[in-house]
Symmetry: C2
Subunit: 216 residues, 2 copies
């Protein structure tokens, strides 16, 4: 499949590399067409990896992943362009973490709104599915690196888009426990979870962890 990835950080390049190993045609987008991190990734990833602007990557992808840092997400998506994202599934992996006020970071939007909702409101003709934002990049692409059962969460307004993303998460990445939390407003839940995740990560002294839902 043709995949567009927005953002050249650890999340974007890790997901991109995984998709390249599965023989997908992956274009990674950034502000500049000559972005050095993207160039280094293209060289390293091999296969059908390429780079371009945010707009190039969005136009390229049949499915597009928002892997920008949360505070920059809306600007990056504006640069990607509504036309290039129209009728596409936009998997929003970003968390609106604000590091400008010191550590630990706060959320730039939370409680009665979320980044996922902001993106869906801005791109009414795209199908935003919030997913993967509750685990670190290495766990995203290899859930088996953690022992036993653990869960991934998604939400979004379009049931068919969620079904396709669920298939992708299972078949490409190996997630076999995926909880549908409902419409895109549930992004308030998975994004606010980051405030808990940060404290857990500090206590556990690792970012390589996840949660398993236990119920009666």
């Amino acid at each position: 499949m043709k995949i567009g990835i927005l953002g050249t950080g650890v999340v974007g390049t890790t997901l991109g590399s995984k998709f390249v190993t599965l023989d997908h045609d992956v274009k990674i987008g950034s502000r500049s067409i000559t972005n050095e991190k993207a160039a280094a990734w293209v060289k390293h990833a091999g296969g059908r990896a390429s780079q371009g602007t945010f707009a190039d990557a969005a136009a390229h992808g049949e499915m597009v992943f928002n892997c920008t840092s949360g505070m920059a997400a809306l600007d990056a998506l504006k640069a990607a362009g509504a036309q290039n994202l129209r009728n596409k599934i936009l998997v929003d992996v970003a968390n609106p973490l604000d590091f400008s006020k010191g550590m630990p970071p706060t959320l730039s939007v939370s409680n009665n709104d979320s980044l996922g909702e902001q993106i869906q409101r801005m791109f009414l003709e795209s199908k935003v599915v919030k997913a993967l934002n509750t685990v670190n990049a290495l766990v995203m692409v290899d859930p088996g690196r953690l022992p036993g059962e653990h869960d991934l969460f998604l939400c979004g307004n379009d049931p068919a888009a969620k079904a396709r993303v669920t298939d992708m998460l299972r078949d490409w990445l190996g997630w076999n426990r995926i909880v549908d939390l409902g419409d895109i407003t549930a992004a308030r839940g998975t994004e606010s979870y980051l405030l808990f995740w940060l404290r857990l990560s500090g206590a556990l002294k690792t970012t390589a962890f996840n949660i398993h839902i236990v119920r009666a």
Copy 2:
């Protein structure tokens, strides 16, 4: 032990009943000394159960549990009185859920502050330990009702107070996996988790669940 419980809702009465069955001397406090819910609980709980005002319950307890609804917590604690809480462990079980703006509720304080911190700032001579607020009342007092391993979280500024609460959670309630998330600012994490918990509860169609931390 003499225990004071502030709040006559499901959380306060469920914890109180459990403590009474362990032969503790439990006084449940509310706004009015003749509160009918408290009177019904005293009759039902038997043993060394009694009722009183918030101040009565706080004065009675060697350890005090804040089980008020989050929005009412600060007023209830003011009524309890700093003098009656001085040098005591105050276990804060409340979540600052605001139901006034419709469902699902939002948090009345979050992100860069928390109810736990507000309480600790207001009662500088008390030892606030945030705990038990991430599970429903029946799970609090009987973690074995959920299968397999799952975790409870606490935080607070006083290590000795956290050690005592950890002992209490293990010996009285049966929690054997307890994660210390650090100082009281970590209450931002466990309270914000409620926004995620609410969505999970909706998807799972139960409030009887918890999470198990899985790490590499």
